[in-house]
């Protein structure tokens, strides 16, 4: 587990990060969400040791993070770049070797990764001859080629077509499933919502919310329910502790002052007829995001 504790960073008079604290757990995908300039990239750079923090500590599995352990990190910076005139496979082998792989092992990793990401046929093309989407895939490959134990990806999905997003999502999920901790940022909230197990929301250099996605959704959900029933639900209007938000004969959306009131509604509806759907309405990521920042 990667733990950031009270990380602070200023650039001149501007405070970029103010006591940033959160954790990235093993075998899980952690989504890192925030507006432009909120501090995502700075946090990631500090995680990778590309920038140094003014104060605070980062721990990996309970011990302070050092350069040696950072070698087992995979990083995809927000601003993309590989050597334009170097062949794709060659670059991947170079990066793997920089991380300590032997030539042979680096070659094997590069080959299987290129296949996995659908770049197998372009392995000997120079980067600049690839389409933008394929360049993005190559970029992802560069962050994965040394089998990192911790993955830090800054906007890994931006610029990808939906098909490529699926390929990359698959690749990341697989890494997480085999034990890697994955921290990724994205502006595309629906992708984050679909993908992440845990969520960290940052604004103005401060962590506004962090934790398991479902827990956060529950925390930030209004006590709102929707119900679909074979009988008319007109009686809902007269129920105590219930406010009807939307009504249309056999279906309704309502807020309950307390969970017990919602359960009472369900029991009455089931006594009246067949309930085909009863569900609490969970806050979407976009709602949570708007609420906390």
């Amino acid at each position: 587990m990667l733990q950031l504790d009270n990380i602070t960073k200023s650039f001149g008079a501007r405070t970029a990060l103010d006591g940033v604290t959160f954790s990235v757990r093993d075998s899980r995908m952690t989504g890192f969400v925030g507006g432009n300039g909120a501090g995502k990239t700075t946090t990631m750079r500090i995680l990778l040791g590309v920038l140094s923090s003014d104060a605070g500590e980062i721990q990996l599995d309970g011990a302070p993070l050092d350069a040696e352990q950072r070698r087992r990190f995979g990083y995809m910076p927000e601003e993309r770049g590989l050597y334009p005139k170097m062949k794709v496979r060659e670059q991947l082998v170079y990066f793997a070797r920089l991380h300590g792989f032997t030539q042979a092992a680096a070659g094997r990793n590069a080959d299987s990764l290129l296949e996995e990401l659908g770049l197998g046929e372009r392995r000997d093309s120079t980067l600049e001859s690839l389409s933008l989407g394929n360049q993005q895939r190559a970029q992802i490959a560069a962050s994965l080629v040394h089998d990192p134990e911790v993955l830090v990806l800054d906007e890994p999905f931006s610029g990808l077509d939906p098909l490529a997003v699926d390929t990359v999502v698959e690749a990341l999920k697989q890494r997480a499933a085999s034990g890697a901790s994955v921290l990724f940022s994205s502006h595309q909230l629906e992708i984050v919502e679909r993908l992440c197990d845990d969520l960290v929301i940052i604004a103005d250099g401060r962590i506004r919310a962090s934790g398991e996605r479902e827990e956060l959704r529950t925390q930030h959900s209004a006590p709102r329910y929707s119900i679909v029933c074979s009988s008319d639900l007109g009686w809902l209007r007269g129920e105590p502790d219930i406010t009807v938000v939307e009504f249309g004969g056999g279906h309704a959306t309502f807020d309950a002052a307390e969970p017990a009131a919602a359960q009472r509604v369900l029991r009455r509806a089931m006594a009246d007829g067949d309930v085909t759907s009863f569900s609490p309405q969970r806050a979407s990521l976009a709602q949570i995001f708007r609420e906390v920042i």
């Binding site: 750079r45 040791g49 590309v50 590989l82 170079y94 070797r97 991380h99 300590g100 092992a105 089998d147």
Partner: protein, 368 residues
């Protein structure tokens, strides 16, 4: 996630440097412009050697005065235009007034060699080679090397240093900017220490530059031997060795500075402005050597100033005007300067690498 630890061992600092240097070298060797430049440089050297060979062949007859009693000694020497005189005094007179290049006279009683050669300022090589037994040599107006030869040597040392500096320097700077411009530097920085990155660049390119001058030297040596100018080699060999030593250190000095100024900009287009001061450090010594090589004071100063020392000191050694300890002091000065440049360079490199956008100012780059 321990499946791959067997295949992976964290690379040491040295290994990282080697990897970076290796990439620099292979990238260069694949670049067409680099191969073409090197080819042109080698062709120039070859052309110079051949031209020198043709010129030395054209001056085929050397006027030589000979005292009649020993004229038989020269009968088998080719390429001489003999003037037979009666006495040693007559012969010396002809040498002094320039009618002949040298005179061959009988040696003093008891000398090991039967003849003595008298010349004005230098012994004609065709005569010296022709006399199979080395005769005793008396110079009436000793000067160690001819003007033309010293000019050519100055020019050769100067142009080799200049050409290497001007090819590899900007190349290093460009490769730094490329990494910064494409933002790949962030990935690199997350994998290897910044100092290893810079060291790899400097070392890789220095090795290439060095290989290039070795190629030039080999070509020159072989060419000179083949075209029958081997005697020039014996004169040049010691200064040449010193030149190589000075060149290596001098080049590292330049390479570190070029890497640093490369790190200060974010786009290739802006490179010109930061590179100018460093380019000047190559250009000025080059022109100074060309124009001031026959001014002993200027040359002495230049042989100690670190940026011109790689050309100036071998030059003075070649002219024979430097004492044995002088190149050592000059080299020590150069090494200290190079070390300082590497320190300053890596500081600038470190401070500037992540700063994107406008050009990083010198004060920002140095203070951080």
């Amino acid at each position: 996630m321990n499946t791959t630890t067997a295949a992976r061992r964290a690379p040491s600092f040295t290994q990282s440097v080697v990897l970076v240097a290796e990439r620099e070298i292979t990238t260069r060797l694949r670049s067409k412009s680099f191969l073409i430049t090197t080819g042109i440089l080698l062709l120039l050297v070859l052309g110079g050697v051949i031209a020198g060979g043709i010129m030395s062949k054209n001056v085929s007859t050397t006027p030589v005065a000979v005292v009649s009693s020993v004229s038989s000694e020269l009968s088998n020497v080719p390429g001489l235009e003999l003037t037979v005189v009666d006495t040693r005094a007559d012969a010396e007179a002809l040498v002094t007034d320039g009618t002949v290049d040298a005179a061959v006279v009988p040696s003093e009683e008891g000398a090991a060699v039967p003849v003595t050669v008298i010349a004005e300022s230098e012994a004609p090589s065709s005569l010296m080679q022709g006399l199979s037994l080395s005769p005793e040599l008396i110079l009436l107006d000793p000067s160690d090397t001819s003007y033309l030869l010293s000019y050519l040597a100055a020019f050769a040392f100067g142009i080799v240093f200049f050409a290497s500096g001007m090819t590899f320097g900007p190349m290093i700077a460009q490769s730094v900017v490329e990494e910064k411009q494409t933002r790949i530097v962030e990935i690199l920085m997350s994998a290897v220490p910044v100092s290893a990155l810079m060291a790899g660049k400097v070392i890789g390119n220095s090795l290439l530059a060095f290989a290039q001058i070795v190629a030039i030297a080999v070509l020159a040596v072989v060419g000179l031997s083949v075209t029958g100018q081997a005697e020039l080699l014996t004169v040049l060999s010691a200064p040449l060795l010193w030149f190589v030593g000075f060149f290596i250190i001098g080049f590292i000095l330049l390479a570190a500075l070029f890497a640093a100024v490369g790190a200060m900009v974010s786009r290739q287009e802006d490179l010109g402005t930061t590179m100018t001061p460093v380019t000047m450090l190559i250009m000025l010594p080059y022109f100074a050597i060309i124009f001031l090589h026959d001014n002993p004071v200027a040359l002495t100063i230049m042989s100690y100033v670190p940026f011109s020392a790689p050309v100036g000191m071998p030059m003075r050694l070649f002219l024979g005007t430097a004492a044995w300890w002088e190149p050592l002091i000059s080299l020590a000065l150069l090494i200290v300067t190079a070390a300082l440049a590497v320190l300053l360079g890596s500081r600038i490199y470190n401070n500037s690498l992540l700063k994107v956008g406008s050009r990083v100012s010198w004060s920002q780059a140095i203070k951080g």
